[in-house]
Symmetry: D2
Subunit: 346 residues, 4 copies
């Protein structure tokens, strides 16, 4: 940590900062400049936080130097991780050597629609099925998902297709029932900072897909992952899904740079959601190509057998020709950047 | 609603949109321009949502015209509301005729610190006490609040001072216990879109202080209020606390325009949090003056008897001289814009 | 300046940084922490910039500590400035003791419209007239202003009313002609970083109204002012007019906190443009009240005798009742925050 | 265009809107809904703009439906364009069939540094040389470029290497001299809305590289291109270089979706600048792979023989190993998405 004193800070004020730092066992190195002094702190950063240095007289600013996360940091875990999803004997990897294609309907509506979307996804090359039974919706008047009935539909579709299930959980009280049916728990963008929910999935024993908050910095996102990790669960996959900016042409702005930035600081796998980022089906294929190019570990895509009838996010769901084009991209492009398709390990 | 067809849309595609609209009992008026056709829809907007018009062939865009919220809208409730906070016989109003000053520590740390902060707040003119027993923190390593013990401290401070209590609830599972002790439940910025929590406070029977999500549009914020209202609770006060922008000089950018914008579309009271918006104690007084000027119904401010020792947000907590200046502003300026100080109704 | 080394930086890399700093006459203080070293630099900051420290091996980050502007900084000029606008004997102040009301049409369209708008402005209490002869428009198909003919209209209206003229200049080649007619040169939001234009107005000998770039940080804005000051012109008034954010309810988000933030770091006067910030005439009065409350040195407002016929920004121009309400606010509220109306000094 | 009336609008107000539209030869179709009326307009959109409909009584909102640009629109020019850069007999294409690699130093500092950077660029596969002689800098105290001397250095390096030159122009007064020496004129991000400069390059007879304003929407960017096109110059290449958002980990947020969004609405070629977008050299290679993946027509990259000594943007300049890796990516990846490297046409 570095403490920057204001130009008019007195020697007493500087000494006060030094004394506070030393009172918790830290060391303080003072550099006096022409205009102002700066103080470098060495020691246990957690103890410094409690000092409230920014509130001391004469202090202009405090810069944190180290990353605030630990368990998810590359620094203490220099090998990038692979997370395995699915039941023993049928697990699909998400990690640095492979490219994992996850697809399915935004929402589970009926058994027929879900099975049909799963068949579409599978024939396009997907090895994990996504589908929402609990939907966080901006409007209380919109379709909120089928709940536990939706989970049972997903489980039956897994039996029929063999695809492990990724599904969202929106309330800490539902974690147990969702974990009983699903292979991977998704935390949606609106819940990235719902700390009670993060702790609950951290104790669930299931892999977690953690979407970035639509206005979270990368550091805040990694801190959210740290909440999960702290409860003993390191099977976390991050998902970049677009951030909120001033540009209205797309629903969100896909922050493609987040992929290499995360890979430079954390060992966790990271995938991209081109459907929710753009909110337009004509962008799904080019953004998937960008995700593969930039080095993402996978993508998660909306498909629906009949987008016109979808109860959720129909305009971005792929079908027919578009899906065939996507299938081709997902099969052919990863090898050009040194990755294999992710398939089941039995 | 208005459906905009793409320039190359065919007559069949236009007819298909019209047929879909009519199939749910709506009317569709087609205007054919030189370049493209637009279709105006008349009827029940909820039924149109399920049509997924944006996914139909030939459709370029769909514009919603009406506001998506109802219960909180000024349209069906043209009189601005007053919300009363506190026990029978000692209620404090928040509404269009008064200016309500809420103050207290960011976090409840000890009984002494809380009582001392409450006395500071009260002598500066505050008529409601804020203080957090449950704290949503970005880092799992930061102080998370005292929980139920904190609620008991708040209750004892209310007995000592007579100030009704505003405190945050962060998890739907805690709503019952918080509602038992507090006079007003606060939903923090990170939980504005935690729909399960919104529904739980909607059923609690207590007034709710709903902070704006730091990256929520005003419309999304009003939709969050609609979630609470839909459960039968219309005692909602909105709180503008700054949004996330590119400007680093302040912790958030106080969107002062949100106050008149909300007042032009909703009947709910709206207050301002100058402490969290700026994140700097030197901005609290000028931003409070701005809030009074713009026509806010109150402010909520951090005070702490000893900011150096605060476990949470010390740098923005007022004390001594600053608080005296604030007290003066809050007493003298509201009358210049036609408002009285909000005091207890017995 | 503070140089933060990466965790794995070697002693040689640290020594290399120190040597570079010393090679230009600076001093470097090394603090070695558990995880990484930080190096505090003392000496002439300009010489450090040329060192390109961020590109050296082992360097993780470089934090600048001092403000990058000098002439406009409060540090070397602790008294807040007053800028006087208008011809000798009829000057209007903009500064810390007064509140200056500037009004007029967005664009000069005809002599009649301009005179009529000026009369409206004057009778509402304005002491400076705004009006654009050169208009920067997003579309090449929109009205671009009358150019020199517009300047002549403004000059004749000044003769008729006695109001000094504030008008925009958009091209360095036009500075001379505009300076010949106008009393104050306005730099619009789109030209805040047009450095050639800034230098040209810096040499014009006329006071400058410098609007904030709609996506400029406060620091970048003060650096733009520094460009003008560096050419010998310190008669600069800053104008906050809203920044670009994700919120669609207003044309821009008025960053009201910018007023006290600027006042804490620069001696230059600062005013607010409530018309362009909100883009809605119903927000002009509340945002003007907010500007007075927060401590701005004035406001600049669009008025038009017939907004329906305005060639530019009609929807935000005030007339009739609204203007009467504004006149009352501008007359009555400043005294409540300790300011007098700004009137002519003869 | 669609005019949305407010809920309480009267029949007279609706009739007034219709009459205004008809007065300029347009047609107005009224759809009366339960809550409010909407009016669809058909006819010449330019004439509607002058009506100032948003200012009429009873009007709540006006939605524009058509794109505001024409010459650069795909609608009237359905074939994507190729722009050829360089002297007769040695032209390099930028367009839909090729991938063009442009590289060079951020700033021209000396003849040796520029030649050396050009050789680096060429051996890595670049077929166009970038380099700045005029630099727009945020600080008036930073290096501002060599001006005409820099142009002469660039011309001599072109003679030595055969690489055509792309260089920035920052002031309309310099367009003539820059056009005399350069093969392509670059408009930088800060000047995207400098309309006088846009018109000047539109008349220069040289191809233009138009960088996106760091806070411009895609529509505003295409309007800036329209300004150039309107002066008779359609040889315009767009360059996405990152937008300003809340994320601090990168200098700007590369809006990778802008590439397919532009390609869906305009016929102009579009390239990506991974150096300025990220501001970090470790991101240049992954972002270049993303650019190729998404379908960009080229990239423009900073290289410098000695980044430690660079006078501008050293931290993002590639050298040695990194450049070799980039060379490999630029050679191998475009064929995997169906593009050839862009080479000289003699």
């Amino acid at each position: 940590m570095v403490v920057v004193m204001s130009p008019g800070a007195t020697d007493e004020e500087i000494a006060h900062v030094v004394a506070r730092v030393e009172s918790v066992g830290g060391e303080a190195f003072v550099s006096k400049g022409v205009e102002r002094a700066i103080i470098g702190l060495v020691g246990d950063i957690e103890s410094f936080h409690h000092l409230n240095l920014r509130a001391l007289p004469g202090v202009a600013d405090v810069h944190r130097i180290s990353d605030p996360y630990k368990l998810v940091s590359l620094q203490h875990h220099p090998q990038r991780s692979t997370v395995w999803v699915g039941p023993e004997g049928a697990q699909v990897p998400i990690g640095p050597d492979t490219f994992t294609f996850i697809a399915g309907p935004c929402a589970v509506e009926t058994a027929e629609q879900t099975l049909s979307a799963a068949r579409m996804a599978q024939s396009a090359g997907a090895t994990l099925l996504r589908g929402g039974a609990y939907k966080p919706r901006t409007s209380p008047y919109a379709f909120q998902g089928l709940g536990e009935e939706g989970l049972e539909i997903l489980a039956s579709v897994r039996r029929a297709t063999g695809l492990p299930i990724v599904t969202e959980v929106v309330d800490a009280r539902d974690v147990e029932v969702v974990a009983r049916h699903a292979d991977m728990l998704q935390i949606g963008t609106r819940n990235m900072a719902n700390f009670g929910l993060l702790q609950a999935v951290g104790e669930s024993g299931k892999p977690v897909l953690l979407k970035r908050g639509m206005t979270a910095t990368i550091e805040e996102w990694l801190m959210a992952a740290e909440y999960i990790a702290q409860r003993g669960n390191l099977d976390i996959v991050l998902c970049e899904r677009g951030i909120r900016t001033f540009e209205p042409a797309t629903r969100n702005t896909l922050d493609i740079s987040a992929v290499p930035v995360v890979q430079a600081t954390s060992h966790l796998p990271i995938i991209v959601d081109p459907s929710h980022a753009g909110g337009r089906k004509d962008l799904v294929v080019p953004l998937t190509r960008a995700a593969i190019g930039v080095g993402a570990d996978g993508v998660i895509v909306d498909v629906h057998p009949n987008p016109e009838e979808a109860l959720c996010d129909g305009p971005q769901a792929l079908l027919g020709n578009e899906l065939r084009e996507l299938a081709q991209v997902v099969r052919r492009l990863p090898p050009a950047v040194g990755r294999a398709a992710a398939t089941v390990r039995s």
